[in-house]
Symmetry: C2
Subunit: 469 residues, 2 copies
């Protein structure tokens, strides 16, 4: 499928002295077996696998530091690995080297319920964190869909369905423990909710995709579980009506917790996959968090807004089982779509625009998909102006892939022309390095390159991602 340009550019066999040192430090937690390298050489993107030369399972920050010191000395690439759910080729070993698997660093270090914070090792997943803080009456809201690790989510600046209310990893990460390329261990912040003490190292590493250092511990904000939760769905004759209803909802300041769009194709796929009988129209799904009265008030406001935009079939529910039923369509959207074209893979896109331009951006992109006979659906975290077009392609058909990538490129161009971004939440990885230049301009990219060179002078930290050396 998608081929990396510089897969073999700098690739060379690992030095024997490094192999020996890693083996003696990590024993069976250091491996070069093909199966393990294959597992660590692919992510959820459409790229062909690119295998690391070896895999190390670290169990502590000190072990990560030891790996980085050795790899720094030997000029060998290090690619941090969490759960392998990234979507833009972040964890592929484009230049070989060591995949540094942090999934065994999965201890919850502290929940400070009284401060609404938790500190976890990087390999803790978001579901694990939520499971472990459930009894404290708190929850961690960031939900990118996959059960990603908190370290990986910080590294890609992830967000997802709840971001419209609770923000992204950018807003919810208070502090990190990071190991820099030379093996130094730094703490980037404290548990204070705000600080103006020096350069914002936390935000520097959030979203840096393993290219500036390895995140080994994360302190995040938690939130009180809302007193009441309600959900609502409704259908629209056009995507434009649906999106315009969302725009008005946001402009009114309704504090929706989630608002998701599914286009007609997505709903059709769901109906087929989950044996549902939803109207085959654009669908909006809402979730409201607040007091009993507050969620009712929000639902009433939204009901009035969507009615103005010709919504039909407005339903809302407060009981958990009814909410789950209403939202069932959303949870299965990705897998349902894959069923529409057996043997295919999905190329996912990810733009975010100022909300006033969202309808326009989605409609033009939809028209482009239609004009190119794509098999696709559109899913949007529309409250943030963020949406994804999933296009199904034949992994063995280069022309098919090229057509989809051309749709993606035009979609990015459209978003940038609207003062939006080429990546709302998936990151840059291998896939968006050119779009990144297009978005930021060469001068800003030069600043990013200065950062990379300052923090990683030997270019061993996940090389070949975000910016070219």
């Amino acid at each position: 499928m998608n081929q990396a340009v510089d897969q073999t550019a700098l690739k060379k066999p690992l030095p024997e002295t490094l192999l020996t040192a890693l083996h003696s430090l990590f024993g069976e937690r250091f491996t070069t077996t093909l199966a393990m390298r294959e597992h660590h050489g692919r992510d959820a993107s459409s790229y062909d696998p690119m295998l690391p030369d070896a895999v190390v399972f670290a169990e502590s920050t000190d072990e990560v530091a030891a790996v980085l010191k050795l790899c720094s000395e030997h000029r060998v690439p290090v690619i941090p690995f969490g759960s392998g759910t990234s979507l833009e080729g972040h964890i592929l070993a484009a230049q070989g080297g060591i995949s540094l698997d942090l999934s065994r660093m999965n201890r919850l270090l502290a929940i400070h319920a009284e401060d609404l914070t938790a500190t976890v090792q990087a390999g803790v997943t978001r579901k694990q964190l939520n499971h472990e803080c459930k009894d404290s009456g708190l929850f961690f809201p960031i939900d990118p869909g996959a059960d990603a690790t908190i370290g990986g989510m910080a590294a890609t600046r992830a967000s997802g369905t709840n971001a419209v209310r609770y923000g992204t990893m950018r807003e919810n990460t208070l502090a990190l423990t990071v190991v820099t390329a030379n093996g130094r261990i730094i703490k980037t912040g404290t548990r204070a909710r705000k600080s103006s003490a020096g350069y914002d190292l936390t935000r520097l590493f959030v979203g840096s995709e393993g290219t500036l250092g390895v995140i080994t511990e994360v302190t995040v904000r938690l939130y009180p579980q809302p007193e009441a939760v309600s959900a609502a769905v409704c259908s629209f004759g056009s995507v434009a009506d649906a999106v315009n209803a969302v725009i008005q909802t946001i402009q009114l300041g309704v504090p929706v917790a989630r608002v998701e769009l599914l286009d007609r194709n997505g709903v059709k796929a769901i109906n087929a996959y989950a044996k549902l009988a939803l109207p085959e129209q654009a669908l909006l799904l809402f979730e409201f968090h607040g007091s009993e009265h507050g969620v009712q008030e929000q639902a009433e406001t939204v009901q009035a807004v969507v009615a103005e935009h010709h919504a039909t079939g407005f339903e809302w529910a407060t009981r958990p089982e009814d909410r789950s039923r209403l939202w069932a369509a959303r949870h299965n959207a990705y897998f349902a779509l894959l069923q529409m074209r057996p043997g295919c893979r999905a190329i996912s896109t990810d733009c975010c625009v100022p909300i006033s331009r969202l309808a326009e951006c989605i409609l033009e992109t939809q028209a482009d998909c239609e004009a190119n006979d794509m098999i696709y659906s559109i899913i949007g975290h529309v409250g943030d102006g963020n949406f994804h077009v999933q296009m199904l392609v034949d992994p063995d058909d280069a022309a098919d892939i090229a057509r989809a990538e051309a749709v993606n490129a035009r979609m990015v161009g459209r978003a940038l022309a609207m003062d939006g971004t080429c990546s709302g939440e998936h990151g840059v990885g291998l896939h968006k390095m050119d779009f990144l230049i297009q978005e930021h301009g060469v001068e800003a990219i030069e600043s990013m390159r200065m950062l990379k060179h300052a923090f990683d002078p030997c270019n061993i930290m996940n090389p070949g991602k975000i910016i070219r050396w």
Copy 2:
């Protein structure tokens, strides 16, 4: 008063060629008059003035770039200047050079009401921005007290009373235009609400205090003016009761828009200054934003919480004039305190701790003030765990100043031991460079130094602030 250590270390006369070039470019907007240099050589801190050698009034990003290119070539320091309200010596010309005054860059470039964003030149003040967006039904919530410029607020990562609900400049800055030390102009972001496109240059410059580049334009988030606003006040026999009531309010997830603490000394000063008759006890002031019913619900919840903590005299109000009356005490707090000791100046402190430790931190600090016979009051943005002790000192009494600084140092040590920060919102400037090391540790400071060296290789950007070269 407070003396800078390295005031004259690198100071030398400006080169004649630079003077000539600046004069020919800026005409009367370039000046070396003593009056103008004095105006630009002091801020709202307790430092003695440190005068720049000259002042330039820039009117565009290109003019800022021209100044930086020239100063870079001549290795002359440049200190960005907004409204001069910083509190830690940020704008003092510790090593001489050019004060680059941005106050004439005061144009509102765009309000995108439908996207809840505004883009302003750096010299626009927060009051000006709020005045100009009033008719659009929106407001900009960050309120540090002084009518600071938006550029200055971004540069110091400012916050203030509304941060508990709306966040700080960190959360509310979407994009910046920045001129780097070599005169390059970069745009750090777009108007998309979220992005995972590359390194977070926006957050790198927010809080960098002019030491990495000059912020010339800022895109910020705006918010719909709330449908309803209400205010409440109540008194407590002890600071501990007041703070514990706040802790519980936050832990319950009540979305208070503001919650401010004034200690008994502060209330006494206000009574004397504004001829009020408030009970001379610790005072909490709340503000609630939301729907009519929402603000009532919040006020009721808070009333129940404060009652558990022995509050007295709970009053709440929704009409603007009544709200203003309730909050009058807060608005005059700083000036009222100054009246308690004629001829004095205030040394202000600024710590932020995890909220569960706030009562302890305030009480120990209060005891320290009492033990040292300070004339002081405590003001807290307590919902964030942030508080200030204002100590009145005789500017000509070195021992008096030293006593106050010792109280401050112990307060910082206490906050750091509680996993808090040495600066909640005032920044580092000249004053907190040693505390910054204490907070972050030498390894993290080394990373900050790498950033500084990468972005400002000749050390001309506000040198001698945040970290030592």
